[in-house]
């Protein structure tokens, strides 16, 4: 039981797919201008990832290794199409705001990464828990970035005014940069730096050492 709990909680910080493995950055940049869109996309990703991990784990003994990637992508993409259709049917306005990014869950490296690395080797229940944990880790990072961007970019949180804007007679001048993609890069970079400073174990080893200083040779 404790082990299962670890499978879920590890990917939140210690093995977070976004900050440690730097996966799923594309959507993390695109949908984090507001908390509502980040929350919806995170939920969609968690559902797709958990179901995909469960299904792939169920059939793992019968997936020929020659076509395993195609089989996984087919299953993931089908789930994504279904999720997209559900969003269009029950949350049309939100699906218009997320535009193409729901469909792009199919290409999110986290999904294929978890099914390939974990679900293909493990039983369904641990696979789904692992998927749930990784989805939650992704959601956590998205929500942190989205909260910062929405708060400083538009002065609101979940579309509720928090900082009174100058335009409405308040004192806060919104930072336009926060609504542009580069700000997500900057926030994400700072977040990775903060986590790795607090947990030095996450720091990657140098891939190469700098050359020793060459002594000046007199001709």
């Amino acid at each position: 039981m404790f082990e299962h709990l670890r499978t879920v909680t590890d990917p939140l910080v210690d093995k977070n797919p976004v900050t440690v493995h730097i996966l799923g950055i594309c959507s993390a940049l695109a949908v984090t201008t507001s908390v509502a869109t980040a929350l919806t996309l995170s939920l969609a990703l968690i559902v797709v990832l958990t179901l995909a991990a469960g299904i792939i784990s169920l059939i793992r003994h019968h997936v020929p290794s020659a076509i395993r990637l195609i089989v996984q992508i087919t299953i993931i993409a089908s789930l994504v199409v279904v999720a997209d259709q559900l969003l269009q049917a029950f949350a049309y306005e939100m699906s218009q705001r997320l535009s193409v990014f729901v469909s792009l869950i199919a290409t999110n490296c986290i999904v294929l990464g978890r099914t390939e690395a974990f679900a293909l080797q493990n039983r369904p229940v641990p696979s789904m828990l692992d998927a749930l944990g990784n989805g939650a880790g992704y959601a956590l990072v998205l929500l942190v970035v989205a909260s910062i961007r929405e708060l400083f970019g538009s002065g609101t949180l979940l579309a509720r005014p928090v900082l009174p804007l100058v335009a409405d007679g308040g004192w806060y001048e919104p930072m336009r940069l926060m609504l542009l993609a580069p700000s997500a890069f900057i926030i994400l970079g700072l977040l990775v730096w903060a986590i790795r400073s607090l947990r030095p174990g996450q720091q990657e080893a140098r891939e190469f050492a700098p050359l020793p200083q060459q002594r000046q040779v007199q001709p």
């Binding site: 019968h62 087919t74 299953i75 089908s78 259709q85 269009q88």
Partner: protein, 266 residues
Amino acid sequence: MAELRNPWRRFLARPNSDRTKTVGIALIVAVVCGLCISTTSVLLRPLIAVNVEADRQGRMSAMLAGLPGIGAILAQAGADAVEAVIIDLDQGRIAEDLDPSGFDQAAVAADPSTSTALARAEDLAGIGRRENFAQAYVVRSEGERALVVLPVYGNGYQSTIRAYLALEADLATVAAFTVYEQGETPGLGARIAEPAWQAQWAGKSVSRDGEIVIEVVRGSSAGDETEVDGISGASVTGYAVTDMIHFWLGPNGFGPWLDRLRLEDQ
């Protein structure tokens, strides 16, 4: 080995490197996934259609409410000020026997008995067949016609562009042009859906001496009242918008009906 008689079990018992099993698994996964997607798509289509329709209505109300003068009429008279009419395009008159509330223009366009095939030379909008009956909207203020809203569509660069063209009471001045559905190239042709581009249509004139001349020009229109600035990098989308407006205001589109309205005015 009784259970191996069962062909399904025999299939599953094959080694994973086996070619038959590889092809079989691929086929099964494809069929099951295909079935799942088709089922959801068919089940959810009516719900999605309702959402798209509500969105379309919302855009139309937003467009009307944003027009100078019209917003006030709507606020006064409510939604009743907008009268939906079905136009018999060949006769150029309102088809009184058709009920606008249950009118399905897509079905009319798809049915060969209620649509007309267009010759290549007439088919400016690139739509192939044109429905014989089309919906339009008339906004009235104190009994007088204030605005005519024509839904227009045509083939763009890579998608069907659908828009509302709102004409003022003189049937020549554009009150607004709003694109509500398009799939043109993002960042280029898709900019026809941006309010800034659509805003330049207001006040333009569609015709000169009774001839439809309005045009989306390449580059800047230099203030001509029958020209709209084109978008750089989206010439084809611009031509398509020009052509579809020419088609729908012309003899195969709403032209005969608009002519009749002008005659009645005199």
